[in-house]
């Protein structure tokens, strides 16, 4: 209502200004949606039932990591270790949940483990590495770029070492326990004849929890406060160091969830699992309006960014554009998204 009143009170030039801002700020969304419409026109199978379920599934798999990294961006930081943490958690989860009769099993004498226990292990691994990231950032006042760059490499080294132990000599870990894979990728609801995998629902639940944390808890408010203006937050009594540690810790937990789901989703996990995942996550967050300036971001923006990005890349595949060439488009999209973000900041100034 106040927006409508504001619009009525504007002068002619102000209205033109407002319209122009609206168009430019949303130009990337309009462009991407237009591209989707054109691709659907060229290749009508693009938005068919199975294809849409595929797009929704891929988006759901990428949502937790994007939500985790969005927290780090809101704190004016970044998290380059996300992908490798996902890879480590995926390989550890997979190695603990291989089928009992599998010939190339990594730990041959390991009994069938309860996958909820392995889930907790996954959360613990992700959370602990996240807390380390947060601690080093907060305590030594280092930029998260430096801290997470180091963590990324150390985690990768740890993963390579892990893949060599047991009966596994650096090979991919596959042959997962059917009850684990059906828990993650099985389904109980189908869209037409295409089954919707269970991890879509888990992802939605996690997103709802994150929405609650961001918007309805003191921790969430503190996160935005520290991101907007660290000194002001400090002065008004927020324990800035603790907020930083916890935000990175929460991000780590999200990476743990992603890794646990990913292990079952892709089925065969190796040292390459998780490579560059953080790039897609950061891109999705920025496209969705999470600003590099800090203190700005919405859950619905992250969802929008993840879904749009996935939609476009599935669409590009339908246009016969190779995965390697898609990087060029991805880079250009990120460039435009950052330009829009910068423009919003300069206009406010």
């Amino acid at each position: 209502m106040t927006a409508i009143r504001k619009y009525r009170e504007m002068s002619r030039t102000q209205r033109k200004e407002w319209m122009r801002e609206l168009i430019i700020n949303n130009s990337l969304y309009v462009f991407l949606i237009a591209a989707v419409v054109v691709i659907q026109f060229i290749s009508p199978n693009f938005l068919s039932g199975p294809s849409i379920v595929n797009i929704i599934s891929l988006s759901a798999a990428n949502l937790p990591i994007a939500l985790g990294i969005a927290g780090a961006i809101i704190l004016t930081g970044t998290d380059l270790s996300a992908g490798r943490i996902v890879g480590l958690v995926a390989c550890v989860s997979a190695s603990l949940l291989q089928a009992s009769g599998y010939p190339a099993k990594m730990f041959p004498n390991l009994p069938t483990m309860n996958f909820l226990l392995v889930f907790l292990i996954a959360l613990a691994i992700g959370g602990i590495i996240g807390l380390i990231n947060g601690f080093c950032t907060a305590k030594f006042n280092l930029h998260p770029f430096i801290v997470t760059l180091s963590t990324q490499l150390i985690v990768y080294g740890g993963l390579l070492m892990y893949l060599n132990i047991g009966n596994n000599n650096g090979q991919s870990i596959s042959g997962l326990d059917p009850s684990y894979t059906s828990f993650i990728t099985g389904s109980f609801i189908s869209l037409g004849s295409t089954p919707i995998p269970n991890y879509v629902w888990y992802s939605l639940v996690i997103t709802a929890i994150m929405w609650f944390v961001w918007n309805k808890t003191t921790f969430g408010k503190n996160m935005f406060a520290v991101g907007s203006n660290q000194e002001a937050a400090n002065v008004s009594g927020v324990n800035v160091k603790r907020v930083i540690v916890l935000v990175f810790g929460l991000a780590g937990i999200m990476y743990g969830i992603t890794g646990f789901i990913e292990a079952a989703r892709i089925g065969s996990n190796s040292a390459a699992t998780g490579l560059n995942y953080e790039l897609d996550a950061i891109a999705a967050a920025v496209i969705g309006g999470v600003s590099f300036v800090g203190g700005i971001g919405k859950i619905r923006g992250v969802i929008l960014g993840v879904v749009l990005l996935r939609l476009i890349f599935v669409g590009l595949t339908f246009l016969s554009i190779d995965a390697n060439m898609q990087y060029i488009i991805k880079g250009l999209i990120i460039l435009v998204a950052c330009a829009i973000d910068m423009r919003k900041y300069l206009v406010r100034k």
């Binding site: 004016t76 907007s228 250009l332």
Partner: protein, 110 residues
């Protein structure tokens, strides 16, 4: 406003407007160009046998079964999706959805 990643930039809003519009045009051009010149490369790695030419296909086109390769002292068993030979390629339904390599499986003649 506090110091942040954009604090020092000496760029005008006008410049960014132009940059954004040019950027969107660049994306559109890139998509059109890459789509027109695009295609997926299906490679046939004969793993020691005779050369088999790769196929360049658009999305959704069926992959043609090539003439079987030959290898001295070996019998050709078929094409597989992976080097561990767990999944055989079914040419009646195989379509190009991404660039990939398929591998030849051989059995030594006693």
């Amino acid at each position: 406003m506090k110091k942040n990643i954009y604090s020092g930039t000496k760029v005008s809003v006008r410049f960014l407007d132009v940059f954004i519009i040019v950027g969107l045009f660049a994306i559109a051009t890139a998509i059109i160009y890459l789509s027109v010149t695009g295609g997926f490369d299906i490679s046939f790695d004969s793993l020691g046998g005779s050369e088999v030419a790769p196929q360049r296909l658009r999305y959704g086109e069926t992959i043609e079964e090539p003439t079987p390769p030959t290898r001295e002292g070996y019998v050709f068993l078929g094409w597989y999706e992976d080097k561990n030979f767990t999944k055989e390629v079914d040419f009646s339904s195989a379509v190009a959805t991404s660039s990939r390599t398929v591998y030849a499986c051989w059995e030594e003649i006693e």
